[in-house]
């Protein structure tokens, strides 16, 4: 089990006119459940919260630790434990084909090219994507692309998977497919989503509003609370 902790972690950014703007108020929270959703309106601070977990963003105050590793001073080690899936898989896939992209993920793990290749093929098979190995990533459907992006991150076996609106660009069928794939993963998942079905799959959910966590509890209650906020 992972121990993810924000301790007074807040984020302020400098705006164009030189003022400081708080986009996440100092937050203290421990995230240990296997499935945690983060819901909230556009611009409420969901992505900011998630980006702190992978040291993509550093807190301006307080600390963020993942299994005791401080994201500020041990960013590299943190990134090895925390996989991050973005909304748009095309911004995440770098190589022309799924196989090559997974090989890229595995460069640090396998030094020999043939080993790397067969390991990458194995990863694709494992996630049911073997048939797409040599296709151009540009020719995959949106759903296939997101599953490939997920596989490139899972290839290095992160202990924690953070997902920022993984189903936003997907149609109903593909977001259901993604949901079932995510449900089958052994890792801890923390995901921001506007997809309330996906949120309901979680055990715990945080509702974020205007840079602060305004509700924290069972997912069903969080979703109900979120619906009430906008009715």
């Amino acid at each position: 089990m992972n121990h993810v902790a924000l301790c007074g972690a807040g984020v302020s950014v400098e705006t164009a006119d030189g003022n400081l703007r708080t986009i996440l108020k100092p937050t203290t929270v421990e995230l240990t459940e296997q499935r945690i959703a983060v819901i909230g309106a556009n611009g409420s601070g969901k992505s900011t919260l998630l980006r702190l977990l992978n040291s993509l963003m550093l807190p301006s105050s307080g600390t963020v630790t993942i299994n005791g590793l401080d994201t500020r001073t041990q960013g590299r080690a943190v990134r090895r434990q925390v996989g991050f899936v973005f909304t748009d898989p095309l911004s995440q896939l770098v190589m022309p084909t799924p196989l090559e992209d997974i090989e890229l993920s595995l460069r640090r793990v396998h030094k020999s090219a043939p080993e790397r290749r067969s390991a990458a093929a194995g990863v694709l098979e494992q996630y049911g994507l073997g048939a797409l190995a040599a296709n151009s990533i540009y020719e995959l459907s949106g759903g296939e692309r997101q599953l490939v992006a997920l596989a490139t991150v899972l290839a290095v076996q992160p202990r924690l998977l953070v997902l920022d609106e993984p189903s936003t660009l997907l149609d109903l069928r593909n977001s259901r497919l993604l949901r079932s794939r995510l449900a089958a993963l052994p890792q801890q998942l923390i995901m921001a989503t506007h997809d309330l079905e996906l949120a309901q799959d979680c055990t715990r959910a945080l509702v974020v509003d205007d840079g602060a966590i305004v509700f924290d509890g069972p997912a069903a209650d969080a979703v109900a609370r979120y619906r009430r906020m906008y009715s």
Partner: protein, 215 residues
């Protein structure tokens, strides 16, 4: 906008002799082609080399379209060079220069068509490895090159999209409406890519500790 990958995305799967040859051999052949065309200055040699490259293309089982594509992209450029050389030095020189350029381009085309990007990267890593003691990081270098390759179709696609959008608004003659969005889109794309790489830990230096957090 991303449908333009086919312009560059080069690898044509196959099992031909050329596909199976090691990268270094292909690189040496490419070098020989280039040297023969540009160092000898002999029109017969150049013509023969061009013919050999074309034969090689088909021996490798590559489709004819793949031969024509780089030619089409460079057509205007080739015609201009050819016309200039014709005017300056006559038909033989014009042919020698154009054929030489064609041979070199088609040879590199054959190389990229028969080598996966992953294999190219491995080759680059090996080639740069001796520079390690001067502080080079071969993995990073290879990653940079692959990112560059990937960005080309994106930028071409962005130009097309923006042209269509400008046309839809009746602004097709407005230079700013046609270039500024490409610039902004490209910067946003570069940021998103950089961030995704950082998230995957791929930008991290392998054996040097970079100072500061969030390296």
């Amino acid at each position: 906008m991303r449908g333009h990958a086919h312009l560059i995305a080069g690898y044509v799967p196959g099992t031909s002799w050329l596909h199976r040859s090691p990268l270094w051999l292909k690189a040496v052949l490419l070098l020989i082609v280039t040297v023969l065309c540009f160092a000898t200055g002999d029109v017969y040699v150049t013509t023969a080399v061009l013919a050999a490259v074309v034969v090689l293309h088909f021996v490798a089982g590559l489709p004819p379209g793949r031969l024509w594509r780089p030619v089409r992209l460079m057509l205007v450029f080739l015609l201009l060079i050819g016309a200039y050389q014709y005017w300056q030095s006559g038909p033989l020189t014009a042919w020698r220069v154009v054929a030489g350029i064609l041979a070199a381009v088609l040879a590199s085309n054959a190389l990229t068509a028969t080598t996966t990007v992953a294999a190219l990267l491995d080759g680059l890593v090996k080639a740069v490895r001796p520079l390690r003691r001067f502080g080079a990081d071969p993995e990073r270098f290879a990653l940079t090159v692959s990112l560059m390759l990937r960005s080309i179709p994106f930028i071409i696609g962005a130009f097309d999209d923006v042209r269509d959008a400008a046309r839809a608004r009746g602004l097709e003659r407005n230079l700013r409406a046609r270039t500024l969005p490409v610039l902004i889109g490209t910067v946003a794309y570069a940021r998103a890519t950089g961030e995704a790489l950082a998230a995957r830990g791929l930008g991290d230096a392998e054996d040097r500790r970079v100072g500061g957090a969030g390296d």
